[in-house]
Amino acid sequence: MSSPSGTSATERDTTSSDRAVPRPEVGAAPASNADGTTVFDVDGLSVYYGDFRAVRDVTIDVRQHEVTAFIGPSGCGKTTVLRCFNRMNDLIDIARVEGRLAYHGVDLYERGINPVEVRRRVGIVFQKPNPFPKSIYDNVAYGPRIAGLAKKGNLDEMVEHSLRQAALWDEVKDRLKASGLGLSGGQQQRLCIARALATNPDVILMDEPCSALDPIATGRIEDLMEEIKQEYTIIIVTHNMQQAARVSDRCAFFTTEVNEQSDTRTGVLVEYDQTEIMFSNPSDERTENYVTGRFG
């Protein structure tokens, strides 16, 4: 658990409650582990690709030690929004962000913010498992090594700890020198989770982490999310509504709006609330239609 969240986050909390939050439900009783600290405060976030507005006006707050799920039909900008949280969109030349995305009170798109430092605190797991063509050990050790966290001797410990957190240790402890590409799909994805955990981040972003996996591997990863949220904050994009219902504490539903004139689609946030409410008693009809399977 990273210490910087302590002091700065408390200060942050007061400022964030000063801000008028439009949805009254958001202030409601926090879910199980959450201590109510806001990790991300997103306000009026829009993402553009060139002149095209891909997503508009997203306003949510992400709480510490919670799993926040982004759900919605294909092309509604869930992944685009997720990639704003660790500035992965910077890698796309034409991508541009408007609005405010604050991490413990600091706007990540402020001048002088180093995306590399952001990504060391906000790790990411991708849709398709993408282990490096290196050994299992080197995959996990990658982050600590480049971050200069690897002091002699304790790198082994860090690797073991991360692999244990990712529930992969028992399966690979005898072949740490073997290539990460030789693992099964589910194991590869847990290796990628271990790689993301190894830099000791604050937040883990997961972009449909189970979409390429079978139900058993999916179950493993869901269990491990439940486990690691004690220490981390998780944001997950998922196509699978049951998964969102099972793993998340809060849930944001996105959909697309068709712009009549230009025949383009822009993603919008429809509703953001506690998962329980989203699935049982959503306030927007579109959410209800989606979660009950009438659309999308």
């Binding site: 790790g123 991708f126 490096f132 990658y142 982050g143 290539s179 590409l181 830099t199």
Partner: protein, 310 residues
């Protein structure tokens, strides 16, 4: 309804499954492909056969291979050898590799990994592609202008092995850039994303993930272009390649030079009655072996790096 006996059903099914339909087009296509391969091989075999007739007996005859490889290219056919040309070709290979490889890979890295996709970047890429198609003779003129007749001539010594090597390096540079860029583009985007996602800087992503992954491809392209450059005689003529001169020893990069293609060219132009035919054929065989050797080194290196990156 009575059940159909299992035996009968299986027989019927088997008969249908085993029924052979003649795939005439498929067979014809396969034959055509095989014939094309045959033509390619025939050209190579014809070349080797033509130069083996007198070349092999000469190389392994009473004169001996060692003598042929260790004598300069002048005087009488009985004594003339490929020593200076071999020194020239191998030295140029080293100069090309040392100069063109880092420059070309660096340029490709910048274009592919750093430069944003603008009009200027695309224009530069197109220009480099076109440069790869410029005839070698033109590069010979360019080299004469830059490395021999300009102020740089003082550093290179004028019409020297160094000037020739540098000119050939410039000649292969566009090809090295293009093939390296292709190899870099073939590195999956997911690998880069994984690196950035783990908190790596661009330089760290390039150094630890992109380059190791692209290296086998870069190496293959570079070696192929190197082998091609070493077969060029025309630009070297413009740079003052000689057939008969003194010196031309190993390490003598600021002296007179020749190369295997130029030596072959020189010997081929002499009247047949003087009896240079065996020398010429033997020199062609030596050239083939040198090129083969360079490609072999490339393949060995590539396999080593491929194993490492897996």
């Amino acid at each position: 309804m009575t059940a159909i006996p299992a035996q009968i059903t299986a027989d019927v099914v088997a008969a249908k499954l085993k029924g052979e339909r003649a795939d005439i087009a498929g067979v014809a296509f396969r034959f055509l492909l095989f014939a094309c391969l045959g033509i390619v091989l025939a050209a190579l075999i014809a070349l080797i056969a033509t130069v083996s007739g007198e070349g092999i007996p000469y190389l392994f005859g009473e004169r001996g291979l060692a003598d042929f490889l260790n004598r300069p290219g002048f005087s009488e056919p009985e004594f003339a050898g490929v020593y200076q040309a071999l020194v020239g070709t191998v030295s140029m290979a080293v100069i090309i590799a040392v100069v063109a490889f880092p420059l070309g890979v660096a340029a490709a890295l910048y274009l592919e990994e750093y430069a944003s996709d603008t009009f200027i970047t695309r224009t530069v890429s197109v220009i480099i592609r076109n440069l790869a198609g410029v005839p070698a003779v033109v590069y010979g003129l360019l080299g004469a202008g830059i490395f021999v007749n300009s102020r740089l001539g003082g550093a290179t010594g004028g019409e020297t092995l160094l000037s020739a090597g540098l000119t050939l390096a410039v000649l292969v540079l566009p090809i090295v850039v293009i093939t390296s860029a292709e190899a870099l583009r073939a590195v999956p985007a997911s690998l880069r994303e994984g690196g950035f996602g783990a908190g790596a800087t661009r330089w760290e992503v390039v150094r630890t993930l992109v380059l190791p992954n692209a290296f086998p491809g870069i190496l293959t392209g570079t070696i192929l272009s190197l082998a091609r450059a070493l077969g060029e005689a025309a630009p070297l003529i413009l740079l003052g390649a000689k057939t008969s001169f003194g010196g031309g020893d190993w390490g003598d990069i600021r002296g007179n030079f020749t190369a295997l293609p130029n030596l072959i060219n020189g010997w081929a132009k002499l009247p047949e009655s003087q009896g240079w035919e065996p020398n010429k054929q033997a020199a062609i065989l030596v050239t083939l072996v040198v090129i083969l050797g360079i490609n072999a080194v490339g393949i060995i290196l590539r396999n080593r790096f491929e194993k490492k990156s897996r």
